[in-house]
């Protein structure tokens, strides 16, 4: 035990030194005969040791196949992971199918990268076997961004329960009612701020209702009185189809609710004979939009215009019109929502929203939250973009093809 050349201090020789194939900082230190702190410093604080020694450290590290400090251990120690989670309530499969979502994510990722933060995609598995809350509960992240979650959902509660910096996108910030208190019983440390959920939460939204109002009014100004509405999902999976008043009352997704409200407000302000015919798409895809349109027009042939809650749905409506041989806009006017990059090529009249800016704002809000500040909620404007897919209602039989 007391040999002259500093024996490796301690206990279990069986697994201490190398075993499982992965080199550790300590082994590098030992190989060099320096302390672990020195090796650590070589990586984290170059100014704490001579350049020469640092070189030597890095060199032998390389020779040993040591790839640098384990990120996990480092995160644990530092208390930060450098990762921000993005929460979806749908299987990622078609979260990505929506260009608006992809665009948003892109600009979000971009703005976060400036602070060396990476994005972790957290989606509820479609598989009913696995716990849909597990991803948000079990993710090692410094902050959470909720992209879409039903109001009052378990998912949203699970997010808030983590009481960490959180940005809610297109969704009202929930009031901090009862539920899982995170204020410890012993509230006698005056110096730590009263751990308020709200202080760590920020919201970024667009003027959903305003844009919808513009869209509906545009159609009414054009003389349409029988207007079909292609709704995004009103609530968690059910299957689409005509919207009953009861179903409408249960609307759980905020953007859907707001857009619907906008349509209805415009209606209320217009001529009383105007009527809306609602149908719900099962998912936000062109083919669902197509199906819905086909069904809607079959059951309500008097419809001359369509309000679609997304450009993706509108794209499907356009296909349906073509299938049916209905000329757009003369026999059928179509209006979308989002203004995707491809929508101009389609000549689609639509409601524009600042998708990229939204992503950037969300990123900035997260950064501020991480810095201990509480940024004010943000509300971004929407605009109507009139293109070729809307026209005045034909008073008689419509011409069979567009002019020009």
């Amino acid at each position: 035990m007391s040999s002259s050349s500093a024996p490796p201090s301690s206990a279990s020789p069986s697994r201490a030194s190398q075993s499982s194939g992965r080199i550790t900082l300590r082994e590098v230190a030992r190989a060099l005969g320096v302390s672990v702190a020195t090796v650590s410093n070589a990586y984290n604080r170059p100014d704490q040791l001579s350049a020469a020694l640092r070189e030597r450290v890095l060199d032998t590290a390389r020779t040993l196949g040591y790839g640098g400090p384990d990120p996990l251990a480092r995160s644990l120690r530092r208390g930060r992971t450098g990762v921000i989670g993005v929460v979806y309530d749908a299987p990622l499969e078609y979260a990505f199918a929506d260009p608006a979502a992809a665009l948003f994510l892109g600009s979000l990722a971009q703005s976060l990268q400036a602070a060396s933060l990476n994005l972790l995609l957290l989606a509820s598995p479609g598989d009913p076997q696995t716990d849909p809350l597990a991803p948000v509960q079990g993710a090692s992240v410094d902050g959470l961004i909720v992209y879409s979650a039903a109001q009052d959902s378990e998912l949203l509660r699970a997010v808030m329960a983590r009481s960490m910096p959180t940005v809610l996108v297109d969704q009202p910030v929930p009031v901090d009612q009862a539920g899982s208190v995170n204020q410890p019983v012993l509230a006698d440390q005056p110096d730590l701020p009263a751990q308020d959920h709200r202080a760590q939460t920020s919201g970024v939204q667009i003027d959903d209702a305003g844009g919808a109002r513009l869209a509906a009014r545009h159609l009414m100004d054009l003389g349409h009185t029988h207007i079909g509405v292609l709704c995004l999902e009103l609530g968690p999976r059910q299957g689409g189809g005509p919207v009953t008043p009861e179903r409408e009352r249960q609307v759980a997704y905020h953007p859907t609710a707001e857009r619907l409200r906008g349509y209805r407000e415009a209606l209320a302000a217009g001529p009383s004979e105007t009527r809306l015919f609602l149908t719900e798409a099962e998912r936000n895809t062109p083919s669902d939009g197509e199906t819905c349109t086909l069904e809607l027009l079959r059951s309500e042939p008097e419809i001359t215009a369509l309000l679609c809650m997304s450009d993706v749905l509108a794209q499907g409506a356009l296909r349906a019109a073509q299938t049916l041989g209905l000329s757009v806009p003369h026999r059928l006017s179509v209006i979308g929502y989002d203004d995707l990059p491809g929508s101009a090529d389609l000549k689609l009249t639509t409601v524009w929203q600042p998708t990229s800016e939204k992503g950037q704002r969300v990123g900035e809000a997260m950064l501020e939250l991480l810095g201990g500040q509480t940024p004010p909620d943000v509300r971004l404007p929407t605009r109507l973009v009139v293109r070729g897919s809307t026209a005045a209602r034909a008073t008689t039989d419509a011409p069979l093809h567009p002019p020009g």
Copy 2:
């Protein structure tokens, strides 16, 4: 210090019990007067304690605002994070702008979710300040998926240096030449498998060259002899424009290289008077495609057909044709690559690739790697889909508009 009721064993009373607002498993245990193991078991192995006790544990945990075991600490202990990193070599900003990438990611995420794995997006920052390797070096992940990286790049080396389960997409698996050995000096543990990079790496690709060959041949069969080629980036940022032979020799992105090879092979097999005019898009966006097309047609007016390395680029080409008043396909044939969901609406002739299946295969390969197996490399087929954007070269002045 020596009070009767078991004094908290150790040293610093100032920060031991609660301080920083976040509850730990130990505090829950103490509050209940049970051991930490019991609390841990309540979460991880319900069968190890009475249902009643478990309830009590979970209850007080809730009251205290304890949200369950810290994921980070748990990962460190268990040696697994439940996260797979996806590596891009470009700023995520426009990784997401490409629907093919988004689709791939969606199906990848989907297939990984079955195993409760989440995706972490790792992109090299556009910002030249920050180290582009930091994300891949510093990410806490169980495996890495390389979606696009230049051959022989630092980035790719950094990935391999982590020597963990890795799937290379549309990219050859590099030979394990020298570089950072990860085989420790002491190679005398016969039971641990000789840590071979190759054993932890798998590849999934499509038949890029084959599809390209089909596309080029199609055009040549149609009689085109002056064919423009819109290339994806050949290598890391340079700015686009005409492709010099020198630049072509340096092509660093595998899909680009392969598609180009396919085009050239078809050319070599056809009539000798056929010529290719190459230009490189700065980025894979419609507007870059448009710009390239405009420039290319201006400098080479004899071109009657375009081979685009992506549908996104082709979409730009279509816009350019419209701007120029060139009728497609009669005055100009256009052919894409990828067959995006929207391409059918555009009547674009293109090379189809199994984007979703690719994502799924990559996910499966990763799962096998994680399970200790070494799945064989996979190569998926491509197909030519002929639609309305290609036609025989007009022998005289082309008609000004398409038929019916």
